[in-house]
Point group: C7
Chain length 94, copies 7
């Protein structure tokens, strides 16, 4: 991964929703409307508050839920990513 | 419960309003319009202010009243939850 | 009273305006439009500013004047209450 | 006076404009549109900033000019008052 | 001058623009549209920031340029003044 | 120059765009639409933050680029100037 | 490069998107809509927060992604640049 987000920003990649039908067929459909789930692929160094850097709460590989309209979508080497501030990440799904 | 909210966020689950009729029948209806009551199912570590983490006031299991339009609704493994900031929780009902 | 407001929030109960006619009859009418008077029934622990909790200025039993459109109305065990921030309370009436 | 304003709020009472006609008759008319002059009748303890209470600049008895649309009007025991924040008081008239 | 502005407020008096015609006649016309020039007639003690009073930059007698729509106009003993915050004064004209 | 801007304000004078045609004739036209270039003619003492004055980054004589809609235009002794906050200056052109 | 951005501003130059067709012909077309990629050509000294200058995260030569509508476009000696605040830069592309 070659994007290094600035400050308290995070780069995430939307997860494809896997749906398994009753017959066991896995349908790899489009991302569902709600919730928006993604995987963290890059994490900034953290915001600087009062001269000290605030440690980030998420790390690469975390599965996260985030506000659907947050962040900016970018396309790097053919892949779609979203760059958003950590405060727009609601929770880590474990 | 496998959602870990970030910062000063809290995950809550709306409570079904139980209504008992005069004849004693319990009607488990939809959540009433007002007030919005919920149970806390996960609590973030707290916001970081001036480099120190502010301890959360609510804990898992608390029954809370919250601003109806606050937070984001998410669906995790078939269950509906609301993720909101603690400041949008009005009070704990004891 | 079983509501514990969070932070610098306060739970108040609107006072019925008592009007005494010239003939001495007390008319317990609806709350008058202006001013909105209420009694404090529960007080939060206070907001945390710079890591220290700011002591609340109002206490349970205080009669207060408050901004009519402030706060959220809740109904708990059949009683109507308003939960609002202390900063929306204008004054204590002694 | 039985109103105790909270924080940096002040209770003021609008002054009736006294107009003296050429013949010497004093006309106690309604408060003139501009400026809004009032007398301070109660003063809060002051706002708390960084854990310290900021001393108020006005005191009971001061004649003040204030922003016409500031504050909330209240009626206590038949008298009209305005409760406003000290920052909405422009100046003391000496 | 009997107005004592609060905090970081300043009382100013608009200057009449004096225009001298080629024949030497001085025309004392209305204040011109742009720029708004005024003389400082009273200065507040200064705002309190972090418990310390910030010294004012303007003093009585200064000629100043100010944002035309800033401040409140008041009439005291028949004279028109403008009360505005020091931050709405652009510059001192020397 | 007899204007002393307050706080972190700066007085600038728009530069006439000089255009030299191929034949060497200098055309002193109106200021071009984009970018807005100007020369600093007066600099305030700097804003006061937390009781300390923040040193200004620009100095008299600097050529600067600034946001076209920033600041207030004033006319002093027949000359047009713009008074704006230093934060509305984008860059110094060297 | 003769532009020195103020505070936490950065001067960037949009990168032309190079597209190579299947036959190997390089098409130097206009910048594509999404993402907006640019090269940093000048960096300010950094914002001053609480009297201390905050070190910048980007440096001259960095390739960056930035919010499309951020910043001001300027033309200096025939070249187009964008001056924006570092906080409007989303990430460094390595």
């Amino acid at each position: 991964m070659n994007i290094k987000p600035l400050g308290d920003r995070v780069v995430i990649k939307k997860l494809q929703a896997e749906e398994t039908t009753k017959s066991g067929i896995v349908l790899t459909g489009a991302a569902k409307e709600r919730p928006q789930e993604a995987e963290v692929v890059a994490v900034g160094l953290g915001a600087i508050v009062d001269g000290k850097r605030v440690e980030m709460e998420v790390k690469v590989g975390d599965k996260v839920l985030y506000s659907k309209y947050a962040g900016s979508e970018v396309k790097v080497t053919g892949e779609e990513y979203t760059i958003l501030k950590q405060e727009d990440i609601l929770a880590i799904v474990e």
